[in-house]
């Protein structure tokens, strides 16, 4: 398991390929990449600044990955999240999971990004034509957690 928080840009394809390297028990790899869009909540976005809570960020991400590992049989997990200045089209976050079978890989990857969205201390400030604005949390991100509640 690797958790990385960095300002530098990264190559999602290279992250994806790391999840298989040399592991002949891996049958399925699922990777999620989040990108900066040029449009959000009805406004053009010229870029953004990503703030975080150093120290807590890494702890929160490790905790989320550990919850996923306790719930699904995973072989490896990679989480990378950028902070600082980002331009439209750049990748923000990568979550990749490998497993023997696909259902575990899909569910664990989706679980990790859903929890990251509501539990990891990152905040986006977008540059729009009307000046910078803090992005509002989406109710839909909180609702997304409902599907992971144990029955």
């Amino acid at each position: 398991m690797t958790v990385t928080v960095q300002t530098a840009c990264f190559d999602p394809g290279a992250m994806l390929n790391r999840l298989h390297a040399q592991q002949l028990g891996v049958g399925a790899v699922v990777g999620f990449t989040g990108y900066v869009r040029d449009f959000n909540d009805g406004q053009d976005v010229a870029g953004m600044l990503l703030e975080h809570y150093p120290g807590m960020t890494e702890k929160a991400l490790h905790s989320i990955v550990q919850q996923a590992q306790a719930r699904w049989p995973l072989l490896s997990v990679e989480v990378l999240h950028r902070v600082g200045r980002l331009e439209p089209g750049e990748p923000i976050v990568f979550v990749g999971v490998s497993s023997a079978h696909r259902a575990a890989a899909f569910e664990a990857c989706h679980f990790i990004i859903d929890y990251l969205k509501t539990r990891a201390p990152f905040w986006k400030k977008e540059d729009s034509a009307e000046g910078p604005r803090w992005v509002d949390a989406r109710e839909s991100d909180t609702q997304a957690l409902d599907k992971w509640r144990c029955p």
Binding site: G34, M56, A60, K117, W123, K124, K125, W134, D136
Partner: protein, 82 residues
């Protein structure tokens, strides 16, 4: 001492990023600490927002979490990463 931190919009509104605060037994939990901060003036009412989030020693907790001398406490708006 309590090590207080504010992030994102709260940091900007309050003009404070980090602050030390003397601990006292009345500050029994995070809600008592938050309420004490509200009395500081108008800007601080931002901490009355219903969606306020808080962390105790870098773990997300509710306002009911008990507070002890030496703790690190952070208040911030809902997170928007990913």
């Amino acid at each position: 001492m309590i090590n207080l931190q504010f992030f994102a919009r709260y940091r900007e509104v309050l003009g404070v990023e980090q602050q030390q605060l003397a601990w006292s037994p009345e500050l029994s939990n995070l809600r008592a600490l938050r309420d004490a901060l509200l009395s500081r003036g108008e800007d601080w009412q931002v901490l009355a927002e219903p969606r306020l989030m808080c962390a105790l020693n870098q773990e997300m907790v509710s306002l009911d979490a008990p507070l002890q001398d030496g703790d690190e406490v952070a208040f911030f708006p809902p997170v928007t990463g990913g």
